[in-house]
């Protein structure tokens, strides 16, 4: 099936035209199967792919362009091409950094994200180890119950949780978030780590047991070092999820300085009827950047945990 007919450029162009006008696509019969020319690939694969990329990335481009635009260009499409910036400015970013509590929000968000990630990973590692390695009667059901917890979305929990948080005296403190985020982080991380522990040969642990290692030593010296990729995946996922969380942070935090970045940008920068789009977009850009940069460093782990969790 490799004997593709050589096609002259003119012929190829004709085929592109035919395809663009809705001609040749499917059901052409077996004789066309070997015809996998460049032109066909460009029309059926590359052009749609480029359109997808443009659509998926345009809001980010627009965010960035708006951030660096001076106000007169921002609101005047007649004299300035809106897709480009003639005289870029840092005014909006300066305004965000110095006229608002942005630094404060960033520190709070970081603290909450790291705290809840740490707590969730600790709880998940122990739970996954117990379920997958210590194997007891009903361990499958405990695993299933923890998985089911992932199917309980925050939207139906935040009202009663607000009361629980209030009764515990945690309302309007970062600890309200650090303790409630594990409700959606622990199920996911546990499920992910069970999968990882499964891939580590049990014989290694048996050898260590015979050599007289205790269970805790086995977990610390053998299982955990081998599960490091799994721990990184779970950690990254937990960190980005807690960075992005919105509804709990909106419901449990009321004072300006304790807000997390996503909530603060929406509730503190939108004031009155006049929206300062430049500053808003600067806030959106700077709030997205840390997590985007963090993600770019660990893309492979991230993708593997995302797809692994679904396949598990």
């Amino acid at each position: 099936m490799t004997d593709a007919k050589p096609i002259s450029p003119a012929e190829a162009d004709q085929r592109v035209d035919a395809e663009v006008s809705g001609g040749v696509t499917e059901g052409e019969g077996p004789q066309l199967l070997s015809w996998d020319s460049r032109a066909r690939r460009i029309v059926t694969v590359y052009i749609p792919l480029v359109i997808f990329l443009i659509v998926l990335l345009f809001p980010f481009y627009w965010m960035a362009v708006t951030t660096f635009k001076p106000d007169n260009e921002l609101l005047d499409y007649k004299n300035h091409n809106p897709f480009w910036i003639s005289s870029p400015t840092l005014d909006n970013i300066k305004k965000l950094l110095f006229d608002t509590d942005y630094g404060h929000w960033l520190v709070t968000t970081m603290f909450v994200a790291i705290g809840s990630t740490f707590l969730s990973i600790l709880a998940s590692v122990l739970a996954a180890y117990a379920i997958q390695r210590l194997r007891f009667r009903g361990s499958d059901y405990v695993g299933l119950a923890i998985y089911a917890a992932y199917l309980v979305p925050p939207s139906i929990l935040f009202i009663p949780l607000a009361q629980v948080v209030f009764q515990m005296g945690l309302f309007d403190t970062p600890f309200a978030l650090i303790l409630t985020y594990p409700t959606f982080l622990v199920p996911f991380c546990t499920w992910l780590l069970i999968g990882y522990f499964k891939s580590i040969p049990y014989e290694l642990e048996e050898c260590a047991l015979i050599d007289g290692a205790s269970r805790l030593q086995i977990l610390r010296r053998i299982t955990l070092p081998l599960a490091v990729p799994g721990l990184i995946s779970a950690g990254i996922f937990a960190f980005t999820l807690s960075w992005n969380e919105f509804i709990y942070a909106l419901a449990f935090i009321s004072s300006t300085e304790n807000k997390t970045v996503p909530v603060a940008i929406l509730t503190e920068l939108v004031s009155g009827d006049v929206y300062h789009w430049g500053a808003l977009m600067a806030g959106a850009l700077l709030g997205s950047l840390p997590v985007a940069v963090f993600y770019m460093f660990f893309v492979e782990y991230y993708v593997s945990s995302l797809t692994g969790a679904v396949k598990e």
Partner: protein, 315 residues
């Protein structure tokens, strides 16, 4: 090292170490943090939420048991009924859109294309970035005066002579939200389905080609059935999280114009937290539970199929 020194070197473990070698104790210790957290902050609130739905609790006050009164009131409340229809419409259209486009994107990425992993990384960006912040970008794109879409369509292409009023009228606002939701959902669907596509053996396609199957027949007879188990799981999650979506609507329209774009989650928030009617908000949230149970059962049976698909033992 001979046997005698080995015995001599081994210290007697302390009482604490012995305790930790007791399997039952160790299991209890290991499960305690996860199970404890989930019981206190998930199971208990879930029960409390169902209880609150039958009371007239307000913020800062103790409620009284009022039976089904909240639900009876909600059934006469046009805004609530509207939000239920809205949620179902939003979930249905957005899910169809996300899966049609997401599957298409996954099929495109499954070709041998240059920079595949880089493209995959970039495509996930809408999923990584905080939803509220990209929602703010969409809010700006949907601005009545300075919308870039209006600019292109009206001022550049001259296809219309009036600017779009994306968020000022109920139906345009609903469609605008659905588009934003689809935009955010495509990456997750595409990347997870791509993982599913990559597990399908190429030899199946070769065999089909030799038998003279058309691309559509290959998709229909090989790709679709083998992708079904993973598709079912991804769809369960997608439906679950679209149905309970809150951030996009809250950030872009806050339920407006005139409460026409409220989803059940945003209505529950509006009544429960700023409106201080915790009982009524909880009742709206509890009304979502039947749908979630349906999605969970669906997921459970799809998980059952997975074992068969991967051909591994039930482990």
């Amino acid at each position: 090292m001979d046997a005698s020194t080995w015995v001599a070197k081994r210290p007697t473990p302390s009482a604490l170490a012995q305790l930790f070698d007791n399997k039952a104790f160790l299991i209890a210790v290991c499960l305690f943090p996860a199970v404890g957290l989930l019981l206190v902050f998930l199971t208990y609130p879930l029960g409390l939420g169902i209880y609150l739905a039958f009371t007239d609790t307000e913020i800062g006050g103790n409620g009284h048991w009022i039976g089904l009164e909240n639900f009876e009131y909600l059934l006469t409340d046009r805004i609530f009924i509207n939000s239920v229809w809205n949620t179902m419409f939003y979930t249905f259209v957005a899910t169809v859109g996300k899966f049609a486009l997401g599957l298409w994107l996954a099929l495109l990425l499954n070709h041998h294309i240059p920079f595949q992993s880089a493209i995959r990384a970039i495509i996930l960006l809408p999923y990584i970035v905080p939803t509220v912040l990209s929602a703010i970008a969409f809010w700006w794109i949907y601005d009545p005066q300075f919308s870039i879409i209006s600019y292109v369509v009206v001022d550049q292409l001259h296809l219309r002579d009036k600017y779009f009023d994306f968020l000022g009228e109920p139906w345009p606002a609903r469609w605008s939200l659905i588009v934003a939701n689809i935009w955010r959902g495509i990456p997750f669907v595409a990347i997870t389905l791509l993982a599913g596509l990559q597990t399908i053996s190429p030899s199946l396609y070769e065999a089909a080609m030799l038998d003279g199957a058309s691309p559509w027949q290959q998709f229909r007879r090989i790709t679709a059935p083998l992708l079904m188990p993973i598709l079912a799981i991804v769809m369960t999650f997608s439906v679950l999280f679209t149905f309970t979506d809150f951030q996009l609507v809250y950030a872009i329209t806050r339920g407006g114009p005139i409460n026409s774009t409220h989803l059940m989650a945003t209505l529950a928030f509006q009544r429960g937290i700023p409106g201080a009617q915790l009982g009524e908000g909880a009742a709206i949230a509890v009304a979502m539970i039947p749908f979630l149970i349906f999605a969970t059962l669906f997921s459970y049976y799809a998980l059952g199929n997975r074992k068969w698909q991967q051909g591994s033992d039930n482990d």
